[in-house]
């Protein structure tokens, strides 16, 4: 697996949503990183949340009902 393949990203409606998710995940101690949305994914100017794929279920559970997710996809 290459370095890139280890990661997925969550895209949000807005930066507000990304920051709220960051705060929730931080509070729960779930590793993640806010990164600018890569050009190959979207032309939008916001940020997305990067995580390793093994944490996908944990992260989705943590954000469920709290923050709307626009899309989860490979980096």
């Amino acid at each position: 697996m290459t370095e890139m393949e280890k990661y997925h990203v969550i895209l949000f409606d807005s930066v507000h949503h990304a920051l709220r998710s960051e705060k929730i995940l931080k509070g729960m101690g779930i590793p993640h990183k806010l990164i600018p949305v890569p050009r190959h994914i979207s032309s939008d100017c916001g940020v997305c949340l990067r995580f390793t794929i093994d944490l996908r279920n944990k992260i989705e559970d943590a954000l469920n009902g709290k923050v709307d997710i626009y899309e989860i996809r490979p980096l």
Partner: protein, 387 residues
């Protein structure tokens, strides 16, 4: 004259907690940056500042989802958004006779455009009787717009009772909390509030130029944006986003102001709203009791601190409100507000239109000593008047 006492907290609270000043300075000096407009560190940090403000207010008003709070520049803008965004010609809306012009003027504009308006007459003390409401509800009634407490008499309105009456009838309850956010406990869920307009620069201890509105989840589908533009989201589209809060937050926000508002909200959560309320009740009752013993004084409103916020309106025989207020400032260093307080309908209700009243409004940082001093000043002005 050595004293300088600020009793105009219902207009703008002053001073602010130290935390408010620090947060505003810290944002301007060390963060800067446009929130939600880029992925670089100060833009992100700027976004966090706004997130914190949203979260502390959500906690204060018991709002589940902080994104249901939209920031505006004040309560007036928030109320304009609610009123103009929601009501259409042919709709019917109910309000009270104690409203501020921030509610009355938008409603009067809409009335001239075909919205039907009913105004519940309140008592001379400013009370609204919830039992007056059911008879006014029509088939096309869409909303009840009501102040949480009068900015003239301080009278606290029975919001929860009104919420209970209109719940189940499909009506929208829009509350003007300009005077009460940060001063009285507010629970949007328990009180059945659908729209809560607030300002940052009064009891929430933020700076001027901040305010906002809570919109109950789903109701955003029925409220038009009054302003559209850049949001930092969905930039590839020339159509305004329809999700919260971006639907209503176009253009760069007042982030430095919101840094202060967030800090103010956290300060209130830390001190406890009940503690703040208790202190304000004591000062207000002290002032009311003292005023009652001064001859020639007429007090308006409940005259009972437990039934009003820390706002007291009064007059003194033989003097106009502006003469009293000027004398208080000039000779005693006491700052009050005379006149109609942007609420002509409220003054008509309590019988003081067009002359108005003198309004004292206390804040958390006022002291009992200041109240005693002010009572001495009013006593002296009353004596001088009789000479």
């Amino acid at each position: 004259m050595e004293q300088s006492i600020y009793f105009d907290n219902a207009a703008t609270s002053w001073p602010k907690p130290e935390e408010t000043y620090i947060a505003i300075d810290h944002f301007n000096r060390s963060i800067g940056g446009s929130p939600g407009r880029s992925g670089h560190r100060v833009s992100i940090e700027s976004g966090r500042v706004i997130m914190n403000a949203r979260e502390s207010l959500a906690q204060l008003f018991n709002i589940d989802d902080p994104f249901q709070i939209v920031f505006t520049k004040n309560a007036t803008e928030a109320l304009n958004l609610a009123i103009f965004g929601l009501l259409l010609p042919g709709d019917h809306v109910i309000t009270s006779s104690m409203e501020h012009n921030s509610v009355m003027r938008p409603l009067r504009v809409l009335e001239s455009q075909g919205v039907e308006l009913s105004i519940v007459r309140c008592s001379p003390q400013g009370y609204l009787d919830p039992d007056d409401l059911p008879a006014l509800i029509r088939e096309n009634t869409k909303a009840v717009v009501l102040t949480h407490a009068s900015n003239v008499t301080g009278t606290i309105m029975p919001i929860k009772e009104v919420g209970d009456i209109i719940r189940g009838r499909g009506l929208i309850l829009c509350v003007d909390a300009a005077q009460t956010a940060g001063a009285l406990p507010i629970d949007v869920s328990d009180m059945n509030i659908d729209l809560l307009a607030f300002t940052g620069h009064k009891s929430l201890f933020g700076s001027q130029g901040t305010g906002g509105i809570y919109i109950r989840k789903g109701l955003e589908e029925r409220i038009r944006s009054l302003m559209v533009g850049g949001t930092g989201s969905r930039s590839e589209f020339e159509i305004q986003p329809d999700f919260m809060p971006d639907k209503y937050e176009s253009g760069t926000l007042n982030t430095s102001g919101l840094a202060g508002l967030g800090a103010g909200g956290e300060y209130i959560l830390k001190k406890g709203i009940d503690h703040i309320r208790d202190k304000e009740i004591l000062m207000t009752q002290h002032f009311l009791d003292g005023l009652k013993s001064i001859s020639g004084v007429h007090i308006y409103g409940p005259g009972d601190a437990s039934r009003q916020i820390s706002v007291v309106s009064f007059n003194l025989n033989g003097m106009t409100p502006s003469e009293i207020s000027f004398t208080l400032d000039e000779h005693y260093g006491i700052m009050s507000r005379p006149g109609l307080h942007c609420a002509p309908s409220a003054h008509r209700t309590i019988g003081t239109f067009p002359g108005g009243t003198v309004r004292f409004s206390f804040g958390y940082f006022n002291t009992e000593e200041q109240i005693s001093y002010a009572l001495g000043a009013v006593q002296q002005i009353s004596r001088d008047q009789k000479k």
